[in-house]
Subunit: 395 residues, 2 copies
């Protein structure tokens, strides 16, 4: 199956997880499940945008250093306070940035254009009406839709929600994942490799990627290549999505594809992609199941191309792809076979993208030496040295 068809299949199948109502302090990084309409104006009152004097602007007209005008300072207003009186003719109120404009005043003359002595302020510049006043609703007008559902909340979004007085808001739940790591040869991360045993590197890598994609790992289970043990785990694993690694090909110990077919629906198996060809996708016990190759580079690429998309769609995110591209000229030719997508790891050096590896599904170090990867489309025979390549940066 072609990569794009596989991705289309995933898009067609994934459904967003449920919603929950959370206090504003707990929604960082979450996705809005509802539109947010402001109930208030921000600011809710006219406020000073500078430190200075609130006064009647027309009374300052004509002021300059040769014609200083004086005002009686009848008081002061600071943020959070309301000046109790009204600014009359020939009067001014000392005001700090953010404080409400007193009744009667229609401008703020900034402090730099004034001097003050014994409650008499001398103005040496005029100010126009409404100058240095933050108007009601200038930032956000009441009844405006501030965010649409599906918004992945940025830092500043939290600030805006706070400023309009949102206390709690409906967001998408965090999709949960069970990792089933299969292989008789596998030790757990933290153990030392010995004899014919190697250390599982996929679980710890996948957990980090799943966090990145706004989901969480519910459980990690290391399983032997035992058909009935794997069957039981597939049927009884907790979590909204299952990822099973290893045993996804067509060999005698590759139980996962046939188990999914027996117990549910194997929707796709085998992708026109190097590495990651033995990737699969199905449905079992009412949940999506991804079959990822055990070779770690294949596992990484298959996760990024397919599972990341599935989790982001489940999480209600608009952007299913986790990386951003930069354009670099290629230092070397990258050859590729028509009919297969290639995942070429590259390093950025002297303004060029230098090819590190296209093959080597087991050599995870190629993805740590690399700065990112170039995708060679399935309809391409490759890219020539000097061609501009879109590099998807790992960081």
């Amino acid at each position: 199956m072609e990569v794009s068809d596989f991705q289309a299949l995933i898009r067609g199948r994934m459904v967003p997880v449920g919603e929950e109502l959370l206090p504003i302090g707990q929604i960082g990084g979450r996705v809005l499940a509802e539109a947010v309409v402001s109930q208030v104006d921000v600011p809710a009152f006219p406020r000073a945008a500078m430190d200075g004097y609130a006064l009647r602007s027309e009374e300052t007209f004509g002021a300059d250093p040769y014609n200083p005008l004086t005002f009686k300072v009848i008081g002061e207003v600071t943020p959070g306070k309301v000046f109790p009186g009204t600014v009359g003719a020939g009067e001014a109120v000392r005001i700090m940035t953010g404080a409400p404009i007193p009744e009667g005043a229609d401008a703020v003359l900034m402090a730099e254009a004034t001097s003050e002595d014994d409650n008499v302020m001398t103005a040496t510049e005029p100010v126009t009406p409404q100058k240095h006043i933050g108007r009601i609703g200038e930032d956000i007008k009441a009844a405006t839709e501030v965010f649409k559902p599906g918004r992945g909340l940025r830092a500043q979004d939290l600030g805006v929600l706070a400023s309009i007085g949102v206390g709690e808001v409906r967001v998408r739940e965090v999709p949960s994942v069970t990792l089933l790591i299969t292989g008789n040869e596998l030790l757990k991360p933290g153990e030392k490799p010995r004899g014919a045993m190697i250390v599982d590197s996929n679980s710890i890598m996948l957990k980090h990627l799943i966090d990145r994609d706004g989901a969480r790992v519910e459980e990690i289970r290391h399983l032997p290549d035992d058909r009935e043990v794997i069957r039981d785990a597939l049927l009884n694993a907790p979590g909204g999505l299952i990822v099973i690694t290893g045993g996804t090909s067509v060999g005698v110990e590759d139980h996962a594809p046939t188990l999914i077919a027996e117990e549910g629906e194997l929707l796709a198996h085998g992708i026109a992609m190097r590495p990651s060809a033995p990737t699969g996708f199905g449905w079992c016990a009412d949940r999506p199941v991804f079959l990822l190759p055990g070779n770690p580079v294949s596992c990484l690429a298959a996760y990024d191309f397919f599972v990341a998309m599935a989790l982001r769609l489940m999480g209600g995110r608009a952007e299913p792809w986790p990386y951003r591209p930069v354009n670099y000229p290629l230092a070397d030719r990258i050859s590729s076979q028509i009919g297969r997508m290639d995942y070429a790891r590259v390093k950025l050096e002297n303004g060029h993208a230098v090819l590190l590896a296209t093959s080597g599904a087991s050599a995870l170090s190629t993805t740590t030496t690399a700065d990112g990867f170039v995708v060679i489309d399935q309809d391409s025979e490759g890219l020539a040295a000097g061609d501009t390549a879109k590099v998807w940066l790992y960081d």
Copy 2:
């Protein structure tokens, strides 16, 4: 002070936090404090890169569909097991991807080039020596430096560390921050704005940014504009770095700059940048203190330009800047004053960057409508419509 001088001052002052030894399961997103040298070869033994038959390659020479050659299958080896015998003349061992190559064999003939019946395998293709064998150290050679200190650990880095048997590793501690949010006019996030009171939007925004930058908020304190209360908080706040917002200008209630000068060292105050001019940096009670403006756009920009850098340097990170750029032609002219850096918020529309705002330090909604920002250098009068601008994307 110019932005670049301010940044240079920060670079010169910040010192990385201490180190801690953590198990591999807890180091996601951390920064290595030590070089990691592999003690082992990966793989540690020659292993099959394909499913097929391990045999003596020279015995397959000449095999083709018209000249099939047969081998006696003397057993099978799966990952994690060691084949107990030796492959002799005319013999083959069925082998799965990842399994150790048996003694005597020097290649794997892939399953697709064979058929098997009653423990006799028929080969219809030859295979060259070492074909489909993952060699010892092919991924990582023993005694190789795998990572340098200062490496911000990616998902795949965790996988590599697991694969070489690392159980625990020295990483940088997570820098801790106390947020002192000052202002008599401020309500806490989650409250409804009322009267002359507004809701603090900075604490919740800064917390999210601080998490992004690999640090953590130790405590958030909301303080009145009371000189002695703020003094006490500055001297006794927990955390390795203090951020104080509001009251950072030169008005009567702007206590922070003078308090830092009294109790420590005010190293810089006032930046040639719009917004964010009333930003400051000092040292107090043996800790760096950043003074951020209370206006939320100024607070956001000043955080990103200065505090993010400080926290990343404290965390031992090589890359002090949190954003990545994309180039877009400008839809509009952006004018700027020489001698001042401008932080212009832009939206991406129809392949162009559309200016939303350069001024409006209090209008946080400009940063939620925007996709990112363009920096107009202090030596520039601005950019013309059609010019290519470097847009730093918020997401």
